[in-house]
């Protein structure tokens, strides 16, 4: 699978990683978008969870998924009214991105210009480097056929 491009350093609230979720965050730190795939019904799931939401099975493996997506919705955040770590980052764009097969992932959209792309706009998964060898998922706009 395509390796993710690193687009910068993560600056934001501390990530909370625990043993069961670590493969997701570690994968991103290695430039890979790895999610859980159910061993019984093959559903690829997000968010990270110990069981499959579709069939309930516990058994799964981790698989790298395709990195192309399209914007489901994107907004510009103008004021950081929650965690103060965002204060130095506003304004920024955050989105929900459709990755195909019903999978939708969250992430900031980081591009040359500060514009929240409309529904359907093509983006590609990327990552921001975080401490501990972890990464945080984000997206970059891209021209695609």
């Amino acid at each position: 699978m395509t390796a993710l491009r690193k687009v910068g350093q993560y600056r934001g609230p501390d990530i909370v990683v625990h043993p069961e979720s670590e493969p997701f965050w570690k994968g991103l730190g290695e430039g890979q978008l790895r999610l859980q795939r159910c061993a019984h019904c093959s559903t690829v799931r997000f968010p990270v969870a110990p069981l499959c939401w579709s069939c309930g099975a516990l058994e799964h493996d981790w698989t790298a998924i395709a990195t192309e997506g399209t914007v489901s919705a994107a907004v510009t955040i103008h004021r950081a009214t929650g965690n103060p770590s965002w204060a130095s980052e506003v304004p920024f764009v955050t989105a929900q991105v459709d990755m195909g097969d019903g999978l939708r992932l969250p992430g900031r959209v980081i591009g040359d210009r500060l514009i929240a792309p409309p529904h359907g706009y093509p983006v590609r998964a990327a990552y921001l480097e975080a401490p501990g060898g972890y990464g945080v998922l984000c997206f970059v706009p891209e021209e695609r056929a």
Partner: protein, 395 residues
């Protein structure tokens, strides 16, 4: 367990003396004011109260046992929900069921809100809950993913509003109409925190944009105040001061992957919920209350954000998918409209009291006590939230 034919009623309502941004009063003090006001309204004594319920716990609210001990109550029924503004239906429904099953005779339901910038600045050493839900593996139930920039319910809801407005080609005017309508109602409410600040199309556009399409006035207020409602049986209500308001119907919040973005509605495809063409299902609360949607004289909506109104209008079938903005433009929101909404001004203009202040307004309307805000012949009122829960109160 056995449920009797007892009809649950709300027989007393009260609030703290004021609602405001920084009242200089502790949560316990505010709750004591609301509790005493509700008792006086009902013509009841503390010794009559044998049940107590709350959702907003300490430190910004009051935990149940701190209140019963401080207020000198002796309760055999207790219900404390999570400190979130989604339990209004639940607390009233549970209290009603408790009365119907004989678990309690008289239940006081109190909820107090203070803020970290208000009295909370004195309380930070007392611990309590400050859950950062967006740090959960699944993100936050309002749609927050803290590390990805949607670290507040407002940021997450801005994505919902954006999705909706793009999908159904909705203009800023349609969004503005909601905040302007609620504020117009609030101007007639002496308790409303922003009742002195009318809002029109010009002043709306002067409001700072916070996230996506949402401006500051499209958000609920961060305010201080307390509410109390008292539930008992219709039999007990006969001996009391005021005309009882019947809890005629209830249905709970929904919970599923589709509901995991609270201020959205099924089918919109926000959070990790599926996107599909939406058709409202029949909502059981109407049949339980023995009414149809058309019988509702005024609607009370959990307006944490302006766009919530579109979600509930479609979810409960007042209009079809994508039709809510046109419905609002045609029907209006203000007192005197075809279906007034949030005659108290809502969370956005009266203050954020978790929905309980809306319920108090509904009780006053049904009693004919709403003064300048009175909806003519109000007999059937409905409380709804984007989580799919609802209460129907009747005269």
């Amino acid at each position: 367990m056995k449920i009797s034919a007892t009809q649950p009623c709300i027989v007393g309502v009260g609030t703290s003396a004021e609602f405001g941004f920084d009242l200089g009063k502790s949560p316990m003090r505010l709750q004591a004011e609301a509790f005493q006001a509700a008792l006086a309204d009902a013509g009841l004594q503390r010794s009559d109260v044998d049940g107590f319920a709350t959702a907003q716990g300490s430190p910004l609210g009051v935990d149940y046992e701190e209140f019963t001990a401080t207020a000198g109550l002796d309760c055999r029924y207790i219900d404390q929900a999570w400190a979130h503004g989604r339990w209004a239906t639940g607390l009233i429904a549970h209290a009603s069921l408790a009365v119907m099953a004989g678990l309690a005779d008289v239940v006081a339901i109190a909820n107090t809100f203070t803020t970290w910038r208000g009295y909370g600045r004195h309380l930070s050493g007392l611990g309590g809950h400050t859950t950062v839900e967006g740090l959960r593996d699944v993100g936050g139930g309002h749609g927050e993913w803290t590390m990805h920039g949607t670290d507040t319910p407002g940021a997450a809801t801005s994505l919902v509003a954006q999705k909706y407005m793009e999908r159904y080609d909705v203009a800023e005017d349609d969004l503005a109409r909601i905040a302007i309508g609620y504020r117009s109602n609030a101007v007639l409410n002496p308790m409303a925190v922003l009742g002195h600040k009318p809002l029109n199309e010009q002043s709306y556009r002067a409001e700072p944009v916070i996230a996506g399409p949402l401006r500051r006035c499209d958000y609920s207020l961060n305010s201080e105040g307390s509410t109390c409602l008292i539930v008992t049986s219709a039999e007990r209500a006969k001996d009391l001061a005021k005309h009882p308001v019947h809890v005629a119907g209830a249905q709970s919040i929904r919970s599923s992957r589709d509901d995991y973005v609270m201020f959205s509605r099924p089918g919109l495809g926000t959070g990790f919920a599926e996107e599909y063409a939406f058709h409202a299902e029949p909502q059981p609360v109407y049949a339980m209350a023995g009414i149809t949607r058309g019988d509702v004289d005024a609607l009370y909506v959990y307006d944490s954000f302006a766009s919530n109104l579109w979600m509930v209008l479609e979810r409960f079938g007042f209009c079809g998918e994508g039709e809510a903005p046109a419905w609002v433009a045609k029907a209006g929101l203000t007192i005197g409209s075809q279906l007034p909404v949030n005659t108290n001004g809502g969370l956005m203009s009266e203050g954020h009291f978790g929905g309980y202040a809306h319920l108090i307004e509904m009780v006053r309307q049904l009693r004919g006590e709403a003064g300048a805000r009175q909806v003519d012949s109000a007999a059937v009122l409905q409380w709804v939230t984007p989580w799919g829960d609802s209460l129907v109160l009747t005269r």
